[in-house]
């Protein structure tokens, strides 16, 4: 019996921390292969640029653990940025609150629709993806207007540095820690796992299913909006062409991080590892420097497949033995 448990445990560890291990391997390989890989500047650029996807992916982690999916985050990310830049004309508070309010509202509405009508999250948030991008285009005059961040304090939020890393990195770290506590140590987190693991049972056990779902999508919307706003602060403008396909990156990061798409299991640490892994892969491709653009895609696709297959086979082998 104890052996069974240990094997299970190993399988679980591989499933949950596989991304971290692969990440470690890649960093070692990169360091050995390229002089300019393990430099402070390069590491900082990977960390800084990953932080925005990480914030989005935290929300996605909650959604996926809760048994759902949120395709609207890419659109909410760009909308958040445009709103933040537009809002910055009215000061710091407006720049931060406007995107949070609107993106939160979108998340809330999606959550309500999903929880109340039982429509599939995939399709509801797919409509969200379209509708939100439409809204962004409407606000930005079909994309012709790029709002510039005019509030210096808000711009500083995205550009200010501490110990060589910009503020958004610290915001992300705080959010990750908060998300870990929220998932593991609060009733809400338990409810998320429960509805993702067995929604019917959760309902019968007294979990407020509707409220939990709504909160999860609200959170995802808020985080995507926040990430967009921080990014706008960093770029000093509400760029309108961002976020296309970002939902897929976020989902990939969450899955690589060991969270099951079927819901009920997973965690934020894995997701962070997944996000960094994607960032490091990109960085390595850049280090090679002369891969044609199509070949880069083949490499990314193959790598994604490889990671999930390896993870799957390792954890399966452990379980079957």
């Amino acid at each position: 019996m104890t052996t069974v448990t240990r094997r299970e445990e190993i399988g679980r560890v591989l499933q949950q921390h596989g991304a971290l291990m692969v990440l470690g391997v890649l960093i070692v390989v990169g360091t050995l292969a390229f002089d300019s890989f393990a430099t402070v500047g390069n590491a900082a650029s990977v960390v800084v640029s990953s932080s925005f996807l990480a914030v989005v992916a935290i929300g996605m982690t909650f959604v996926i653990i809760g048994g759902g999916i949120d395709l609207s985050v890419g659109s909410l990310f760009v909308l958040g940025g445009v709103l933040a830049a537009a809002g910055s004309r009215y000061g710091f508070a407006a720049a931060l609150l406007l995107p949070l309010a609107v993106c939160g509202l979108v998340g809330l509405v999606q959550g309500l629709i999903i929880a109340r009508t039982g429509l599939a999250p995939f399709i509801v948030t797919l409509a969200g993806l379209l509708g939100v991008r439409g809204l962004m285009l409407a606000i930005s005059d079909e994309g012709a207007t790029t709002y510039l961040v005019s509030d210096p304090a808000f711009a500083a939020l995205g550009q200010g540095e501490l110990l060589g890393l910009t503020y958004p990195v610290y915001v992300t770290i705080v959010l990750v820690l908060a998300a870990m506590v929220l998932l593991q140590r609060t009733g809400f987190g338990q409810n998320v796992y429960a509805i993702g693991g067995n929604e019917q049972a959760a309902a019968l056990m007294g979990v407020p299913v509707t409220r939990t779902k709504v909160l999860v999508y609200l959170m995802s919307g808020l985080l995507a909006g926040l990430a967009g706003a921080l990014n706008a602060a960093r770029l000093s403008s509400g760029v309108t062409i961002l976020g296309i396909g970002m939902e897929l990156d976020a989902i990939a990061a969450v899955v690589i991080g060991g969270t099951l798409l079927t819901g009920g299991a997973g965690g934020v640490t894995g997701t962070v590892a997944g996000v960094l892994l994607l960032g490091v892969i990109q960085s390595l491709i850049n280090q090679v420097g002369n891969l044609t653009s199509s070949f880069q895609q083949v490499v990314s696709g193959a790598f994604l497949a490889l990671v999930v297959v390896a993870q799957r086979l390792l954890s399966k082998a452990q379980r079957l033995n």
Partner: protein, 508 residues
């Protein structure tokens, strides 16, 4: 023990589903400290009534009263907050969460800043479960426990909240005898502390041991309600079935009627030395045509695994299955099925029914290849087969096209039996074929097993119901920890001998 004012009361409750009236003007009164049996055939409406009490369904008519005032619960959560907690027929917990988190979901001990205190969470969970005779690592995911242990967790969860009413829908169907005793102990304590219990079970012995009053449902209506002591077993059965006393009497308690030991001939299926690490060790079983071989043992003894191994649904480290002398290729159930070996799985919901499909499609599923020509199915052939089995097994459905998930548990089980009979097997492995089905259906299934064996079918019968095993089987293998620890045949097939076989080795 009786109080004047009922604690929980149903007054004229009616609940309709498309095509059925599941509950029709149902009255039920429950006093504090009372253990109230709720009985009836499959599909009588027991589970539905419970779900109305607990806010899963809203009644179409009638009134619920709780604590002397009208009440209606919009959700299970509300009912739970009001003090009504429930153990449902199927284990309803979250398999991937840890035992402790399942047990205490929603009322985890909090530490500083209102954050869950994991140390206390695990400590508390361990303590609670020990009170239920369960000593396990509470940090492991729930799914790593056996079904029985899971049910105990569900039970512990339901009872350990501040409940005034505890509803148990067939709590013992997956418990082993020792666990059943623990449960009865718990019920006794509940009664003493003035908590009311609604107890649903098809096992009549249990009812007489723990219940004060009984309400009999038949086709959604109350057929009788009153003290249980006023009814003897036969009277109770006749009320449930709606048939005459005399008729019931002549039928006996199980419907088995076999001349035991009359079979011989070469085995139609022979499993040799089935071995799988930590699960099965060197299990050898054979079944001859017309023979019913019972598999006895406690929960977790490896009976299900034996059956699964025979049909190829479980990877093996060693061993071989021979059908009519020829070895069966491994890796999937298809080969076994086409060789004539079929298995009725134990877990109806997870491994049996396909909930979204109709009764018809569920029955025809396994037999499809034989009901098709060049991959194109023949509707008329399917209809013919489906009709035959629906009639023969008396499947109660509004039409063959009704979605199977709308049927009651017993009828779903019959649909599955029909699925397996439709492939014309030579050997049928039945894993708990009568679990969770009512006396009437149980008798029908048992009679059917008899009849099929009479026609030359070999049967491997797995059952936790010793009476059923003893009366139904020609020969019994007793398993313990994945190994055969005894074989009984002829005169030796008695409950006492089975118990002895299990016990002897258990205390080695």
């Amino acid at each position: 023990m009786k109080r004047t004012e009922p604690l929980l009361e149903a007054r004229g409750i009616t609940k309709r589903f498309p095509g059925v009236v599941a509950l029709d003007d149902v009255h039920l009164a429950l006093g504090a400290g009372e253990v109230h049996a709720l009985v009836g055939e499959n599909g009588a409406g027991k589970s539905t009534l419970i779900k109305v009490f607990t806010g899963v369904y809203q009644p179409d008519g009638g009134e619920l009263r709780y604590n002397g005032a009208p009440a209606g619960f919009a959700s299970p959560l509300e009912a739970q907050r009001a003090g009504i907690s429930t153990i449902y027929q199927e284990v309803n917990l979250v398999p991937m969460m840890s035992v402790a988190r399942n047990l205490l979901l929603g009322r985890e001990p909090r530490g500083r800043l209102g954050v869950i205190d994991t140390a206390r969470l695990y400590g508390h969970a361990r303590a609670v479960l020990r009170g239920f005779g369960l000593d396990t690592d509470v940090r492991r995911p729930l799914r790593s426990l056996g079904v029985g242990a899971q049910q105990m967790v569900a039970l512990a969860r339901a009872v350990s909240v501040d409940a005034k009413v505890v509803i148990m829908d067939e709590p013992t169907s997956s418990l082993e005898p020792r666990e059943v005793e623990t449960l009865f102990g718990v019920i006794g304590r509940l009664r003493e502390s003035g908590i009311a219990v609604i107890y649903v079970s098809h096992r009549l012995d249990e009812l007489y041991r723990v219940c004060d009053n009984v309400t009999v449902l038949r086709d959604g209506r109350v057929a009788h309600t009153g003290p249980l002591a006023d009814l003897n077993r036969l009277k109770l059965i006749s009320l449930m079935l709606g048939r005459d006393l005399a008729e019931v009497k002549s039928g006996g308690l199980t419907r088995f009627n076999r001349d035991q030991g009359a079979v011989d001939g070469t085995p139609v299926v022979e499993a040799r030395g089935l071995t799988r690490r930590h699960v099965l060790s060197d299990v050898t079983v054979s079944v001859r045509p017309g023979e019913v071989v019972g598999l006895g043992g406690l929960l977790g003894a490896g009976r299900t695994e034996t059956a699964k191994a025979i049909v190829g649904a479980l990877p093996l480290d060693g061993g071989q299955v021979l059908v009519a002398g020829a070895p069966l290729p491994r890796g999937g159930t298809k080969a076994a099925i086409s060789a004539g070996v079929s298995m009725l799985p134990e877990d109806r919901k997870a491994e049996g029914i396909i909930p979204g499909l109709s009764v018809r499609d569920n029955i025809a599923l396994a037999a499809l290849p034989s009901l098709a020509r060049a991959g194109v199915v023949s509707d008329s052939r399917i209809d013919r087969v489906v009709e035959i089995f629906m009639r023969r097994l008396r499947i109660k459905a509004s039409s063959p096209h009704q979605v199977v998930s709308e049927l009651s548990g017993g009828n779903q089980q019959k649909v599955l039996l029909a699925r397996w009979l439709a492939v014309r097997p030579k050997v049928l492995l039945l894993d708990e074929p009568t679990r969770g089905i009512d006396v009437g259906a149980k008798a029908e299934v048992q009679a059917l097993i008899d009849e099929l064996a009479g026609e030359g079918l070999g049967v491997l019968l797995i059952s936790s119901d010793l009476e059923e095993l003893v009366e139904g089987a020609d020969r019994i293998l007793v398993l313990r920890e994945g190994a055969v620890v005894g074989e009984l045949s002829g005169e030796n097939v008695t409950e006492a001998k089975i118990m002895a076989a299990i016990a002897e080795r258990a205390h080695d």
